[in-house]
């Protein structure tokens, strides 16, 4: 059965800290791995990773994929209170015509001032 496992499930840090969120997966017909940030309801897209070893970066956030070891990490440097959210990792397979997303349970990040 396809599965995506995120760790830790929750994390409390102080502003300015650097955090690393982990995502491991066992998915047949892997297509890509996506990270989303969920603050209220709608997950908002952060990154899509398809190739191993190529870091994607956006401001203080960065992410990398290891297709050999089947995991990805999401790094957030110099955290701010606005980074408090649930971070979802999802793997897209070749199901359907556009691929299906299989989500992990998420990591709840709380950034204290």
């Amino acid at each position: 059965e396809d599965k995506v496992v995120q760790s830790p499930l929750s994390l409390v840090v102080h502003e300015g800290d650097t955090v690393t969120l982990n995502c491991s997966y066992e998915v047949t017909n892997f297509r890509s791995l996506l990270w989303y940030k969920q603050e209220k309801k709608a997950p908002t897209f952060l990154f899509m990773l398809t190739s191993s070893g190529i870091e994607k970066k956006s401001g203080r956030l960065s992410s990398i994929l290891d297709k050999k070891e089947l995991f990805s990490i999401l790094n957030i440097t110099a955290t701010q209170t606005g980074d408090s959210a649930i971070y979802l990792c999802a793997v897209m397979n070749y199901g359907g015509s556009q691929g299906n997303l299989i989500f992990g349970k998420g990591t709840k990040l709380s950034v204290k001032p």
Partner: protein, 116 residues
């Protein structure tokens, strides 16, 4: 660019009642998804449409859930009759078409359903 629209935002019903949710995807997006997100879990795909055709409904509880996208744009998801375990946020997402390419999915604000 307008995002994915959903309504209602909240709904409270009693078990065994019926409920319907509406979704309007981003203009031009051919693929539409419905997800169920139970508290503390990641979203779980219920059904995927490509234009007005169903391409994956393997995880849709068809004895009580139904969905349609008649004109290939808006979609409705219905639950009849509702059970307590249906309490969740129902998310709609859309993505552009493109065989063989990967596109991110854009999510709507969701509908929070509470079944009492």
């Amino acid at each position: 660019e307008a995002g994915v629209a959903q309504s209602p935002r909240y709904k409270i019903i009693e078990k065994r009642q019926s409920v319907a949710f509406w979704c309007n995807p981003i203009s031009g997006h051919a693929t539409l998804y419905w997800y169920q997100q139970i508290l503390g879990q990641g979203p779980k795909l219920l059904i995927q449409f490509q234009n007005n055709g169903v391409v994956d409904d393997s995880q849709l509880p068809k004895d009580r859930f139904s969905a349609e996208r008649l004109k290939g744009v808006d979609s409705t998801l219905k639950i009849q009759p509702a059970k307590l375990e249906d309490s969740a946020v129902y998310l709609c997402a859309s993505s552009p078409a493109g065989q063989g390419l990967s596109y991110e999915q854009y999510f709507g604000p969701g509908t929070r359903l509470t079944v009492t």
